[in-house]
């Protein structure tokens, strides 16, 4: 629209009233141009591998070996090496599964849901957040596959003809989980890859100009011959929007189906309709905790303050605060309904969680999940990056304990006191779980070394320099 057309379209009343024009937050500070953005992101990949990267990588691989060792020992010896015993036959394995899947959900929220909500500040963090999702799903998937005992039959979960000529039970949420988690992992990889295509083309051309034929070939292979054509961008943007649109119901459904693993049972503390929204909110909460844990050091090490600005940190803290408050509200509601239902088993379960033999876990959960995020109300706290990072670690710890409290307390003390028991993890379980942090870190370090950690094309698109109607700020 030209200036003249704009003037005609504006109703007279607006010129009289003169509404205030709120300044939009600056998404890329210091007025950085396109080539600064390209050089900054590509510079990380093109430069020599820094020494700190090697140190972190070796440590991460070492920790990842705990998982490899733990799983090898498990498969060769049997599920008895874990601490599972009647009545608690789901414990750290399922806690870890739900924990890692929950972390993955923030990545999809940032990529897909914030895209649909037109929150442009997502652009600097969405690539790394999606990578976090994929690696979290990899860590999560380890547990349901290996907790079955006879892992070599794990393919029986899929509707492929087997020698017993029997099919899967599609009435069970455990089977729904198979499809949900597989779909989530696959769609996340597709969305992440598609987002990278234009950036891989940038790297292809830069490496070719610098004379690195092999690297140019490898990046070029996956860049699919992208040449920046606007006709291609048109279809690409449409595909991106569609993937964002389907990833949104996907992320909501995946954790809902995971919550159904518990909600469709009859155990007090599990059999409740609050689980789907409660789990989804909790997943987003824990995921944002992990996003902050990863992004803040990355921002400091690579000097990305102009791209991940204080505004970005503020937004992430506020979402963490909001979802943490929802989780706190859900805790209160569960307690209320347990009392209001007049169901003696339900009432006992919640008193037991707070004051029984797992009370220590319960109060860690409450302090980390309900109290810690409330600090983010304060602007001074949000501006203190080191403090935000420490609080994000507490959020991660608290959310692990939430899943532990839900799963283990309801199993340890259910209907019949003669069946009650106390569960402790075995050393194998502990090492296997901590090793998954090594698996995650190894994959994430490889990602930041070889792939563009931010979507350059999307970042450029949200800068004022990309506006085709320069001077009109209606967009």
């Amino acid at each position: 629209m030209s200036h003249a057309e704009h003037a005609l379209a504006t109703p007279a009343i607006l010129r009289e009233v003169q509404p205030a024009v709120l300044p939009r937050a600056v998404l890329v500070e210091n007025n950085r141009g396109f080539s600064w953005i390209t050089d900054k992101i590509c510079g990380i990949i093109e430069g020599k591998t820094p020494a700190w990267w090697w140190v972190c990588f070796i440590v991460a691989c070492f920790i990842a070996s705990f998982t490899v060792a733990g799983l090898t020992y498990l498969v060769s010896t049997g599920v008895g090496v874990w601490g599972h015993a009647n009545p608690v036959n789901w414990a750290w394995d399922i806690v870890n599964f739900v924990f890692w899947i929950g972390i993955g959900h923030a990545g999809t929220l940032i990529s897909a849901i914030l895209c649909l909500l037109r929150q442009k500040w997502r652009t600097s963090i969405n690539r790394a957040a999606e990578a976090m999702t994929i690696f979290a799903v990899v860590c999560a998937a380890i547990f349901p596959v290996f907790h079955v005992g006879r892992v070599w039959y794990a393919w029986y979960l899929f509707p492929i003809p087997n020698s017993n000529w029997i099919w899967q039970n599609f009435r069970s949420p455990l089977e729904w989980d198979v499809f949900a988690v597989s779909t989530y992992g696959t769609v996340s990889v597709l969305y992440w890859y598609m987002g990278m295509i234009p950036d891989l083309a940038v790297l292809r051309d830069r490496f070719e100009a610098a004379g690195h034929k092999l690297r140019s070939f490898l990046y070029g292979l996956f860049a699919m011959g992208w040449r920046g054509s606007s006709r291609h961008w048109s279809n690409y943007e449409m595909a991106y929007l569609i993937l964002a649109g389907i990833s949104t119901p996907l992320v909501l459904s995946v954790h809902t189906i995971v919550s159904f693993d518990f909600a469709v049972s009859l155990l007090p503390g599990w059999h409740t309709t609050i689980f789907p929204p409660y789990f989804v909110a909790g997943a987003i909460f824990s995921g944002f905790g992990m996003v902050l844990t990863l992004m803040l050091p990355l921002r400091a090490i690579y000097k990305l303050e102009d791209l991940i600005t204080q505004y970005h940190i503020d937004c992430m803290c506020k979402i963490t605060l909001a979802t943490g408050t929802i989780v706190g509200y859900a805790y209160a509601m569960e307690f209320f309904i347990a009392w209001y239902s007049a169901n003696p088993y339900e009432g006992f379960t919640f008193i037991n969680r707070a004051f029984g033999n797992y009370a220590w876990a319960y109060w860690i959960m409450i302090s980390c999940n309900v109290i810690t995020p409330q600090f983010f109300w304060s602007r001074r706290v949000r501006r203190n990056t080191a403090l935000v990072w420490v609080l994000s670690i507490f959020v991660n710890v608290g959310m692990w304990f939430e899943r532990f409290v839900i799963i283990v307390t309801s199993l340890a003390r259910d209907f019949l006191p003669s069946s009650w028991g106390y569960y402790s993890p075995s050393i194998v379980e502990i090492f296997t779980f901590f090793g998954t942090f090594g698996v995650f870190s190894t994959l994430f370090l490889l990602f930041i070394r070889f792939l563009p950690i931010m979507p350059m094309a999307e970042l450029k698109a949200v800068t004022p320099q990309a506006d085709v109607h320069a001077g009109h700020d209606q967009h």
Partner: protein, 177 residues
């Protein structure tokens, strides 16, 4: 072979310049031409006269296929081929079949979208005359180009060059095929 030309390419420094130039090329009636940019430009579709993308239709087809596959697979395995009694629950119900079918809908939609986008864009195409242009690296970085192909019926070496110059294009060069 060197004599054959793919077309002309002109350089523009800003999105505003390439936007207005695109409008002029569109109004001149060219059909086989393109704008090269490092990021999607909001509004360039209209300036180029592009129609809405057909990728959503491919996605929809994928989604419908996914849902039908899910429902059919579950009905066939659980209610027809080998029904197993589980707690007296029905052998088939759209209710319990829904979660898996819903996930398959999303999965098939995602594949259809990505593959559909590649097909409509004609990718992968690792070799293209535009990629041979020495300055194309800046088209991925911070510069904009307009390419008008020689196979366009309105293409005429001198006139097209004049149009691009009038529209503000710099460094107008010949692209070898």
């Amino acid at each position: 072979m060197a004599a054959q030309s793919h077309g002309l390419i002109a350089t523009f420094e800003t999105p505003v310049a390439v936007y207005h130039a695109a409008e002029q090329v569109r109004d001149a009636g060219y059909k086989n031409w393109d704008v090269i940019s490092p990021c999607p430009l909001h509004g360039i579709d209209k300036a180029m006269g592009l129609k809405r993308s057909i990728v959503p239709r491919i996605s929809l087809a994928g989604g419908i296929t996914g849902f039908a596959t899910g429902m059919t697979m579950i009905w066939w395995t659980d209610a027809y081929d080998y029904p197993v009694v589980v707690g007296g629950k029905p052998f088939f119900s759209p209710m319990f079949a829904f979660p898996v079918s819903y996930e398959l809908t999303i999965l098939f939609t995602a594949f259809a979208t990505l593959i559909g986008m590649f097909l409509v864009n004609g990718l992968p195409m690792h070799y293209h005359p535009v990629l041979k242009y020495p300055k194309i690296k800046r088209g991925m970085d911070d510069t904009f180009f307009i390419v008008i192909e020689a196979r366009d019926p309105r293409f005429h070496a001198a006139n097209t060059k004049a149009l691009l110059e009038k529209a503000g294009g710099k460094d107008i060069s010949d692209l070898e095929a």
